[in-house]
Symmetry: C2
Subunit: 220 residues, 2 copies
DNA sequence: GCAAGCGGATAGTGGCGCTATCCGCTATCT
DNA sequence: AGATAGCGGATAGCGCCACTATCCGCTTGC
């Protein structure tokens, strides 16, 4: 397969494919001469994965490069890959040591203890959670903490479902890739689902014209 | 309060405040002369909200402008505001009419019917969900659909919690703003929580050194 | 009376995900 | 054998976005 066919079969423009290769997201084609290379279905598959992580997962190109490095690592301990993926999904970078952040960090540590989770408050995900709670506090919604256990319940439900799914796919396909896809795209799926559930809840509470509104909105 | 004090009290640089005013995120200060204006605690509050939606919620400046326009609308039907917010949280823009998208759209319509949700498949959230499922299909994970009902269960749980929270805040504070904050920041909270639950699940499945890994990672 | 700060306007910056162009070479068609 | 389309690789540029820097003439407060 030449690059133009790879482009056609995936819908990704040729210059973009070249760009992905440059950025280390996609392995280069195998050279058959100084300026001719062939690509196969692994490239096609990888390209589709890249687009999914980019368009639906919302990951940055650099983040995808790091995730794929972990995926391609021959000695790939699954939970390390999961950790690499989870880190790229986050936002927190700097240390926050204002009053709200410290309080939020303590609340997160309590939650982890209460839930008996095998995670540490220094985990990037825990830091992001603390960041979000600190932001809630700053806009006068510190009381949102009361929902943490409900959220945790739902998160456990989702995590259990994800694990079961990955477990079922072990024999079928590449385990590591399943974990990556489940984690990243699963987040997008849940995010959309939560919005949909809110639409339903809002319709029940505030009026029954929501579906009609949606119709009209789409017609615009 | 002058602009420099507003900047000091919120941590937002003065030129950035001016930028937000230009973009319509923040109302201008009240002029006391041709080139002097005063700001009050409503500006402070609004500025904190903007930063939360931007930094934690991940909304774009233009999206925040649209959300705040809805919030400030004197005749503000709550479910309209919620709709405006939900739309800004999404990603889908174009029509997808390939095979995967059509199948995914049908799956979403079925889910909505099965759940009895008062939402329509043309709702932006439903489209985003279909988009995510189509992406799953394209990377060979069409079987992920088996998890949809588990996800829906979790989403309902979260939506119920959110509604209860908003209900509790009706008397206390501005209802519309609570809805916005709960929707946007709640998404960030859940996203972090899901990652945390995955860390726990991964630790249980693949090894008990995850907490130690997190410690080491932070030390880097 | 004068430096510091102000509101407002305009232009510039850095990061990111591409995209356009050019080069010399090769595969393929006639 | 010659023409043409396409190739890999390199470099430069683009469009968007969230700021940021600079400048202007004008107050304010010491």
């Amino acid at each position: 397969m030449r690059i133009s066919e790879l482009s056609r079969s995936t819908g990704v423009p040729v210059p973009t494919i070249k760009y992905y290769v440059r950025e280390g997201l996609l392995p280069p084609g195998e050279l058959t001469s100084r300026n001719q290379a062939i690509y196969d279905e692994t490239h096609e598959r990888r390209l589709r994965l890249i687009r999914a992580l980019l368009d639906v997962g919302g990951l940055k190109v650099a983040a995808i490069a790091e995730v794929l490095r972990a995926v391609d690592d021959p000695a790939r301990p699954v939970h390390k890959v999961l950790g690499a993926v989870a880190d790229q999904l986050g936002t927190a970078r700097s240390e926050d040591d204002d009053a709200e952040s410290l309080a939020a960090g303590a609340a997160v540590a309590e939650l982890i203890a209460r839930r008996g989770w095998s995670a540490h408050a220094s985990d990037p995900a825990a830091r992001d959670l603390a960041r979000a709670l600190a932001a809630m506090e700053r806009v006068g919604h510190g009381a949102f903490r009361e929902l943490l256990d409900d959220y945790a319940e739902a998160a456990e439900l989702v995590a259990r479902a994800d694990l079961g799914y990955v477990d079922r796919r072990v024999a079928v396909d590449d385990l590591v890739e399943s974990v990556v896809i489940g984690t990243v795209l699963g987040a997008a799926v849940f995010h959309a689902m939560r919005r949909l559930a809110h639409v339903d809840a809002s319709a029940r509470l505030f009026g029954q014209d929501t579906a009609a509104d949606a119709e009209r909105k789409v017609a615009d």
